[in-house]
Symmetry: C2
Subunit: 377 residues, 2 copies
């Protein structure tokens, strides 16, 4: 509620708990993340193939959840690990640390990163903070806060870098979305007629806002999907690069990218964009990783992740050909806080997911010189 | 956050908006309620068959939503209608009032009932406040608040009475729930083994809390369902009666009922209970309705409602016979506020629905002398 002086919106804590953290207090949800082999292998390899970063060091795990990264850090030889967790999951993490015999090294601290105090600065900050399409959930804010307060001058970030990608895609269900929308609007006409006939009330004045609401829901809201690589029909482009050591919250509040992509598939429908991210574990220049590890959430037949990809559809889709060039003008802005959603036009965000607090707007200059625009959340 | 002096928990408003009111700001959701013919017919008939309650009177509509009840009240001859709505839906209601030519009678007030002030007391308070199994959503609290502050001494409540019912049921999916639970636990075993094998971390200490979480989710959480009347296998029993004119918030904070039911179906599985409600529009003793209207959400082949019924399953189910008698000991308590869910064991509540803020505990003395107990939300 309200804004702090630097323009970063302040989130009301109780709302944040009700809407966001609650999910992370469920073991079911933790298990889902712990069963994501791509995610697990990346962090496991990043830690155990770079033990020199951990041996005898102080480590901070931001949002430890079940405590897995803290436990691995300790197993890799850390002298001390501070594992911070905002939810009651902290109790489970503490138990897990104990049954794995690491209670002398790992200290689980229940509290939000912004509030707690550590007895020392740390050599490593490790965190699995990435949300859908990287920045959903805005958890990186807490990592930045932790870094600015607790990382030693030569400390390293795990991961150290992050990138966001978009690529043109084909998507079989694009027509279905339009059919669903048309059906919803037919239902509405029927409803307006019935209400007039049976209850003597004219609902016609709500047709415009209902249309807007349904268009937003069916046509202009991005979707979670596990894309198959052959659905990607053009060259992926990087739209954002983040250096976890130096980025500020202001750097990630909004995103403007003007990139181009060339169509690589022959005579195919172009239905919109897929968006995904990757992160790298490289240490820092003065203290590099021995083995650089990559965690990518790009479309993959065999190595899908729980993050999947974010799909932004265009209506109508158009046909494109190999070699077609397109310019993609991508902009994305953090939306108002969830608890404010009733005061602007963001209600579809909650409609889709309580974790969504990003709003995207894309204008695409298509290969046929057409101008599309879409508005997604 | 915290409690007021009378023991009634105070809900943090921003949490309440994020979790509860947001849904009601969607026209899609309003349309669903406005398309419920049982609901619509009951209110329509209650108003237009009892015009004497409205003619020349001041009316307050608590939680007007799209404004339908306020509009009908005006059409039935009310002198003035105050239509209070906490969400942005108020704007749509105002538009609807205008296009139906009633802006001189209906005043839409955007605000929460507890905060706003009316220029006069009213003769009628009308509201569609009923949640799943009547008391979910706890919106009746706001109606009570409105009544105590704004109803004239001889004013009437629409509806005037409410009742909650339970009945023994059979339910085909009861075994599936157990199968789903068993599968979730098998998955967990597999997961614990894999994590030990591949990542050298023993997750065994989480097996107990994971089991509790999954039991609660699959076996001990009540379900929304539209029951077929032939799924009801015993005599329904009233477990709560509410006089809307006199009930206080304390009267609905908890519910204790000891009722009996006799099995009416021959040799059938007894799988648990169905719960539903009805409300009546009777006016008041000194100023009765001319035509009493009933709105029931009991299982019905032809007159189902969007409320459906709430199903509380027992595991395992048992066989019962016609004439078997059972004593049902039903207790239900309002849970802590949603924003506190992380501090107790209520996370399944949010897991199921952001609107749930009730917790039920039922002990059943079965016809075979067996003792079941279940804990539902």
């Amino acid at each position: 509620m309200g804004s702090s002086s630097n323009g970063v919106a302040v989130v009301d804590k109780s709302v944040d708990y009700a809407n966001y953290f609650c999910t992370y207090a469920l073991l079911y949800h933790q298990k889902e993340m712990l069963s994501d082999r791509v995610r697990m292998d990346a962090y496991y390899n990043a830690i155990f193939q770079n033990k020199h970063h951990f041996l005898g060091k102080a480590v901070l795990d931001v949002g430890t959840g079940s405590g897995i990264l803290a436990i691995w850090s300790a197993q890799a030889g850390a002298r001390k690990v501070y594992a911070v967790e905002a939810t009651k999951m902290a109790e489970h993490a503490r138990e897990l640390v104990k049954t794995n015999g690491l209670e002398d090294v790992v200290e689980v601290i229940e509290g939000s990163m912004e509030d707690i105090t550590l007895p020392e600065k740390v050599d490593v900050i490790i965190s699995e903070w990435m949300g859908y399409f990287l920045l959903r959930e805005s958890m990186f804010d807490s990592v930045i806060c932790a870094r600015d307060r607790w990382l030693r001058p030569n400390g390293v970030m795990y991961p150290s870098h992050a990138r966001m990608w978009v690529a043109p895609i084909r998507y079989g269900l694009v027509d279905q979305k339009k059919i669903d929308y048309d059906r919803a609007m037919d239902d509405w006409s029927h409803f307006v007629n019935e209400t007039k006939t049976f209850y003597a009330v004219d609902m016609g004045s709500l047709t415009k806002p209902f249309t807007d609401e349904q268009r937003k829901y069916y046509l202009h809201t991005s979707l979670w999907n596990n894309l198959h690589p052959n659905q990607v029909i053009g060259k992926p482009a990087v739209i954002k690069e983040i250096d976890c050591l130096t980025s500020s919250v202001n750097d990630i509040l909004s995103l403007q990218a003007n990139v181009s992509s060339v169509i690589t598939a022959e005579n195919t429908p172009f239905c919109g964009f897929g968006g995904w991210f990757d992160v790298h574990f490289r240490g820092r220049e003065e203290n590099p990783a021995k083995h650089e590890i990559e965690l990518t959430t790009a479309p993959s037949e065999d190595f899908g992740t729980h993050w999947g990809q974010q799909v932004f559809l265009l209506h109508p889709s158009i046909r494109v050909s190999q070699g077609d060039n397109m310019t993609i003008n991508f902009s994305m802005n953090r939306s108002k806080e969830n608890h404010r959603l009733l005061e602007n036009e963001d209600h579809d965000v909650i409609f889709r997911s309580v974790m969504a607090n990003w709003r995207n707007a894309t204008g695409v200059q298509g290969p046929l010189g057409k101008k599309f625009s879409l508005f997604c959340s």
